[in-house]
């Protein structure tokens, strides 16, 4: 039987990780959003009524980070989006470590399946 203290620790860690992830993502999005408004705030609003897809510089990791180095505001916002998307994934990995430490192999496999579904999906769509 796992100790209640140990279980509490993990719950605290998962909770803290979720909060830090969301806050970091939000801070990046806010800062780059202000930067985006300084650069483009006065321009007329882009036409969002028709879907035309984003350029590959905003849809692939490589493209996003290339733009980040050139200080493209939209790419910086997209980094915020990526951090936000990573937050639940990190939560899965923390659970995986926790179940492994408890030697709960059934749940190590269950968690691994969930992780693989997301991972294969991120690679397959590229």
């Amino acid at each position: 039987m796992e100790s209640i203290e140990q279980k509490k620790d993990m719950q605290l860690l998962i909770g803290t990780a979720l909060r830090i992830g969301v806050m970091t993502a939000c801070a990046i999005a806010l800062a780059s959003g202000i930067y985006y408004l300084i650069c483009h705030g006065g321009e007329p609003m882009p036409d969002y009524t028709v879907f035309h897809g984003e350029p590959s510089s905003l849809t692939t990791i490589k493209g996003i980070f290339a733009g980040v180095l050139q200080f493209q505001a939209k790419n910086w916002i997209q980094v915020g989006v990526l951090v936000l998307m990573l937050t639940p994934i990190i939560r899965i990995l923390l659970s995986l470590i926790d179940f492994a430490r408890e030697r709960d192999w059934l749940y190590v496999s269950i968690t691994a399946i969930v992780f693989l579904v997301i991972l294969s999906n991120s690679l397959a769509g590229a």
Binding site: G15, S32, L37, H40, E43, M45, P55, V114, V117, S122
Partner: protein, 278 residues
């Protein structure tokens, strides 16, 4: 309209969406889609992308508090996430070829269903005899009660709950919403999980479910930074404010007003969808 005006209006609307979403327990995504499509005439695909962002932000933000309190059943959440993530991937791919007008009609129907489910009284299950499968999967749990100490519970109908979760996943991949109502239905009604555990575990799962489809949406170019940033900032601050207010406010009346508003929005969505206006 300039980018600045659009952004400021969107931040305020997103704040309201997050606030209402957390006060009524529906999540931010449900409000974000009608605001973007009906008020700003933004294309439905962009709206779904934005709703996914809103769902991840609110779910992760509020889950951090519940997990620490020890109400969330992490094992149950993990196990059912197999169903929701597979469903979400399926839903995201269906959304790629399905006409937007059809998606709008489905969204409207889901909204009506959501509003109806909100009116349902939650009965607490007592003396539930758990099934063997649930025992083998070690899904039984405990949760803290107000009087201090913990209360243990058992659960049943694992397969039924799992299949409802599969549809919840498809809907959330298709519409970008957390489909929390369907998740609670699976756990509370089918598996007889205590209501409080159902709602927090559902909320805990929404982030992972939304990410499974968000990875498809971002690669297909459905996530537009100019919309994502006001939505993320607005919804998150709104949701945090809502969580604070929730402790002091009686939200019963608000929930009823909101349910009526949701039905009106839903009718609007279904009408516009059938008329082919998206």
């Amino acid at each position: 309209m300039t980018v600045l005006t659009f952004t400021l209006i969107l931040i305020c609307s997103a704040f309201l969406a997050g606030l209402l979403g957390s006060l009524t327990g529906l999540g931010g995504g449900v409000v974000v889609i009608p605001i973007l499509t009906l008020c700003f005439h933004v294309d439905f695909h962009y709206a779904i992308g934005a709703a996914l962002i809103a769902s991840i932000a609110t779910s992760s933000g509020s889950a951090s508090a519940y997990v620490k309190e020890g109400i969330t059943n992490i094992r149950l959440g993990m196990f059912l996430e197999i169903a929701t993530t597979i469903g979400a991937v399926g839903g995201a791919f269906i959304a790629l070829w399905m006409p937007t007008n059809t998606i709008a009609v489905i969204f409207g129907v889901v909204l009506v269903f959501t509003a109806l489910m909100q009116q349902r009284r939650s009965a607490d299950h007592t003396a539930v005899v758990g099934s063997d499968l649930a025992r083998k999967l070690r899904l039984y749990g405990t949760y803290p009660i107000k009087e201090g100490g913990v209360k243990s519970y058992e659960l049943t109908h694992v397969c039924g709950g799992f299949s409802i979760m599969l549809s919840a996943g498809v809907l959330s991949g298709l519409l970008g919403i957390g489909s929390g109502v369907l998740k609670v239905l699976a756990m509370d009604s089918a598996m007889k999980v205590p209501f409080k555990v159902s709602t927090t575990t559902s909320n805990f799962m929404i982030g992972v479910t939304a990410v499974a489809s968000a990875v498809v949406y971002i690669q297909r170019g459905y996530i537009e930074p100019g919309i994502a940033f006001p939505i993320m900032v607005g919804v998150l601050t709104g949701a945090l404010t809502g969580a604070r207010l929730l402790k002091r406010l009686n939200v019963k009346v608000l929930r009823q007003i909101f349910a009526c508003a949701i039905v009106l929005v839903a009718i609007n969505m279904i009408y516009n969808g059938i008329a082919g206006k998206f």
